[in-house]
Amino acid sequence: MKNIEFRTATSAQGGLIVMGGVPGVAAGSRVQLRDHAGRLRAGLVIRSADDAVLVEVFEGTDELDLERTWVRFLDEPFKLPVSRDILGRVFNGAGLPRDGRPPIISADRRDVNGEPLNPAARAYPREFIQTGISAIDGMNSLTRGQKLPIFSGGGLPHNRVAAQIVRQAKLLGEESSEFVVVFAAFGASHADARFFQESFEESGVLNKVVMFLNLADEPVIERLLTPRAALTAAEYLAFDLDYHVLVVMTDMTAYAEALREVAVLRGDVPARKGYPGYLYSDLAEIYERAGRIKNRRGSITMIPVLSMPSDDITHPIPDLTGYITEGQIVLGRELANQGVYPPVTVLPSLSRLMKDGVGKNFTREDHPHVASQLFASYAKALEVRGLAAIIGAEELSDADRRYLEFANAFERRFIGQGEDEDRSVYETLNLAWDLLSMLPPEALIRVSEAELAKYHKGATA
């Protein structure tokens, strides 16, 4: 069947084409279309019956002349050839080279959709990754094998934060990063792609990076393949070649919008804001490819970047993402406007794996308590700040005024740091104690009395 060209298109509309009289076509099979001008387009079988096969055309169905369209059914799903040589290369969303170098030749070609991991085969991620960023390491730590997205918004420095993490990420006691990086950009601007390319170049890791780029002006449907191709490469590097792989993907919102576009064409029932009901499952297929596997050395740690439409964290894309990923690092406009970098809004940020990867035997024994205390004290301090805005700071009690000072210092000194500043987790924790020492020991209930005695600067308790 692979070698036969069918010219039986009966209708075409909005990216979908119906082929008549092609019996026995495999569901999910790849398709190659040749139009009247001899141009090739790629597609996918999304519904198959003997009398009608529905094909989704990646480059769209514009200008297709039904009588002069030839279609081949390739009888296999989208596959990515993998080999060691993918390191240092740049591909498009469908896995074809876009760096002018020859395609990867390999007998090992993998279905980009992957297969779900057996939950019994997973190993629970526990190794603390030091990113050198206090707001992350101190309060929302990253673990090897975790999926931890950055929730951001237009104009916020998510790219710089992601690049800083890639530059600085290492395990405790390790000299430098042992990671290889898989970078996938979909719907990203050329400037974004260039920013990352240059950042990898500057830190001299280009030969440890694989890139998959589908830029804003490139076919929308290919966007649906891009993260899958990238994760197929990541799985190969991690679980066949034992690498620790850091996957950076941007921008999940562009991905979800592409999915919605296609869903509308297919006539799928919308759930919220026009997004199809299966957006959750679809995103999960991507995010759940992060992790660790028993008896395998490598790992996939995932940092998807996602811009929240109108800065709204309840929008379906961040919302469903937050339901799937193991936490989120939220960037905020307010902090950014005050010149705080990285503008991490800590309260809505979360790392679900932190509870199992910090503290005694991992970082330092006081770490979990310090983190919890910072959250509690800062939450209280923000309440005080709200109150001050109403009744005036002068009207505050002495105790409350201390909270106000704490909030300011916390934002400037703890959250805020340089883009090249790489703090060790111990520096981060000591800094936390400097700040907590601005508050009286009686107000610090989440740390133990022993910890207060050891670390609180004004401790008399």
Binding site: G24, A26, A49, Y124, Y278, E285, G322, S372, K380
Partner: protein, 590 residues
């Protein structure tokens, strides 16, 4: 034999005459399994439990002759199954790290021999009914597995095997049915998951399900056989709370259903459960636990099935006279799976894409919870606790609002509390329990006659402080009277010293009812003693500086449930602290 006519995502149209709705089908050369959900003449519509990529029109399809059923017998505990009861460890051994398609591994191990002890009252020639206990198998050290006859059986026992070791497929007995046919009995039987297992009658739920979590047990109790929901936005703590319940609750069997959630969370349960001890029996928790896992990246149709698989397993243990808890994380993912299939069937969506029958499906599912008199004449219960994941944290969405009408206990999680890392983030104003009256009886009889009043006093205090906080937020704390300030302070004490309870705190992760009540009365004692002083004219400003307030907030983490005596010593010293303060105050103001 039939054949495939069309493939459309997880739905396949088949030429399959004479099938019935609900029948299991095996489809295609690789043998994917699914179930029939619609029929039109000779064609049937089936949904498959596995990814359909690669299937072709024209490939074979066959009806298997039975609906989606589970195997019920020894070998269930300690196991992890997927959404259609495939044993994930065995599947892993057979097909590797990834879920290969078309694998068929029996749910219960076929080669393992179990030591069967026949029930001494069974006699050949006596009549035998469905749900009767044939004998027992000590499945784990803590769980004695009762071997039940299939629920619909009725006949005369011809013979029953003597004590000995048997595999689940060996015949251990024979029954003569009314029509003269002979039925063989084995250590296991099958039951269709979408049909509730029969019982004699419903009983009143009377015993509290104790979870060791103060905000649950003391404030919003659940009964054995009750229904509860845990709604909350992402990250609020639904999964942790369910894991805490699975760890600490005083049920005999725990069924943990991971429905459309993270793979790592199941790994987490699989790793910690064997290491933790059941606080009630001292045995490893895994011995009483069984997991059903359809993670978010596994096929959606099996997700829809997984909650039914879970509840049927729960009913089976209930029918043995056990108290079973099933936690389902998350029922929203199940409802979404329902929505997805309805969408593909072209059914009319009513709200947010959900089909009109969402409410009735949810109700029918929760209806399977309850305390019953079993067919065998004992008493057993299924307590059902479902997490709900409302989009955007909006509790007015369809799944949350329908669920709220069905359940009796509502543990509403709050984003604000979770943001400040106040866990469990159960909102003390939004939550409710319809079981307080029944629970009160138990607490009065077993812990303290004053429980109900003390509970109400604490809740009143919390409600009052909410009002006061509103005033403070408008005009500052100075506007409050001394009494009001003290009320506010005491509410803070209750929140931090009592309600807040970290799952990761080794000492406080579980609190016995005695500890719960001791802390409750301690916090109230401080409040009342203080109020007495305030009423005598002492300024709240002074009271708030008492070191006792910071100390009392630490008590929960200083004394474990078996150190209540130490806690009581501290409580006894509370009045003294206030007397000291009173003396000082009288001296300075004199």
């Amino acid at each position: 034999m039939g054949k495939i006519l069309e493939i459309n995502g997880p739905l396949v149209k088949l030429e399959l005459p004479e099938t019935v709705i609900g029948e299991q089908v095996r489809v295609g050369r690789i043998g994917l399994v699914g179930e029939v959900i619609g029929r039109d003449g000779n064609t049937a519509l089936a949904q498959l439990y596995e990814d359909t990529a690669g299937l072709r029109p024209g490939e074979v399809a066959e009806g298997l002759g039975w609906p989606l059923s589970v195997e019920l017998g020894p070998g269930l505990l300690n196991a992890i199954f997927d959404g259609v009861q495939r044993p994930l460890n065995a599947v892993w051994e057979q097909s590797g790290d990834r879920m290969a398609r078309g694998v068929s591994v029996p749910s219960l191990p076929r080669d393992k021999r179990w030591h069967f002890v026949p029930d001494e009252h069974r006699r050949a020639g006596a009549s035998l009914a469905g749900g009767d206990i044939l004998g027992t198998v000590q499945e784990t050290e803590s769980i004695l597995h009762r071997i039940l006859t299939p629920p619909l059986l009725h006949g005369e026992l011809l013979e029953l095997a003597p004590e000995g070791d048997y595999t689940i497929e060996e015949v251990i007995g024979r029954v003569k049915l009314a029509d003269g046919r002979i039925e063989k009995l084995r250590l296991f039987h099958r039951w269709p998951v979408r049909t509730p297992r029969p019982f004699k009658r419903r009983d009143h739920a009377v015993q509290p399900l104790l979870t060791g979590q103060r905000i649950l047990d003391t404030f919003y109790p659940l009964l054995k056989g009750g229904k509860a929901a845990i709604p909350g936005p992402f990250g609020a703590g639904k999964t942790m709370l369910q894991q805490q319940i699975a760890r600490w609750c005083n049920a005999e069997i725990v069924i943990y259903v991971g429905c459309g959630e993270r793979g790592n969370e199941l790994t987490d349960v699989l790793e910690f459960m064997p290491e933790l001890k059941d606080p009630h029996t001292g045995r490893p928790l895994m011995e009483r636990t069984l997991l059903v896992a359809n993670t978010s990246n596994m096929p959606v149709v099996a997700r829809e099935a997984s909650v039914y698989v879970g509840i049927t397993l729960a009913e089976y243990f209930r029918d043995q006279g056990l108290d079973v808890v099933m936690v389902a994380d998350s029922t929203s993912r199940w409802a979404e799976a329902l929505r997805e299939v309805a969408g593909r069937l072209g059914q009319m969506p009513v709200e947010e894409g959900y089909p009109a029958y969402l409410g009735s499906r949810l109700a029918a599912f929760y209806e399977r919870a309850g305390r019953v008199e079993t067919l065998a004449g004992g008493h057993g219960s299924v307590t059902l606790i479902g997490a709900v994941s409302p989009p955007g944290g909006d509790f007015s969405e369809p799944v949350t609002s329908h669920t709220k009408e069905i359940i009796q206990t509502f543990w509403a999680l709050s984003k604000e509390l979770a943001d400040a890392r106040h866990y469990p983030s159960v909102d003390w104003l939004e939550s409710f329990s319809g079981y307080v009256g029944s629970a009160a009886k138990w607490w009065a009889e077993n812990i303290d006659p004053n429980w109900e009043n003390e509970r109400a006093a604490a809740l009143d205090l919390l409600a009052a402080s909410e009002e006061l906080q509103r005033i403070v937020n408008l005009v500052g704390v100075e506007a409050l009277s001394s009494e009001q300030r003290w009320t506010l302070e005491a509410a803070g004490l209750i929140k931090e010293g009592l309600l807040q309870q970290s799952a990761t705190d080794e000492i406080d992760s579980f609190a016995s009812p005695e500890k719960q009540f001791a802390l409750l009365s301690a916090m109230l004692e401080i409040f009342r003693q203080g109020m007495k002083l305030v009423k005598l004219g002492a300024p709240a400003r002074k009271l708030i500086q008492m070191p006792l307030l910071a100390q009392a907030r630490r008590w929960k983490s200083q004394h474990s449930s078996d150190q209540i005596d130490q806690l009581k010593v501290k409580i006894a010293a509370i009045p003294g602290e206030f007397e000291k303060l009173m003396l000082e105050y009288e001296q300075t103001s004199a």
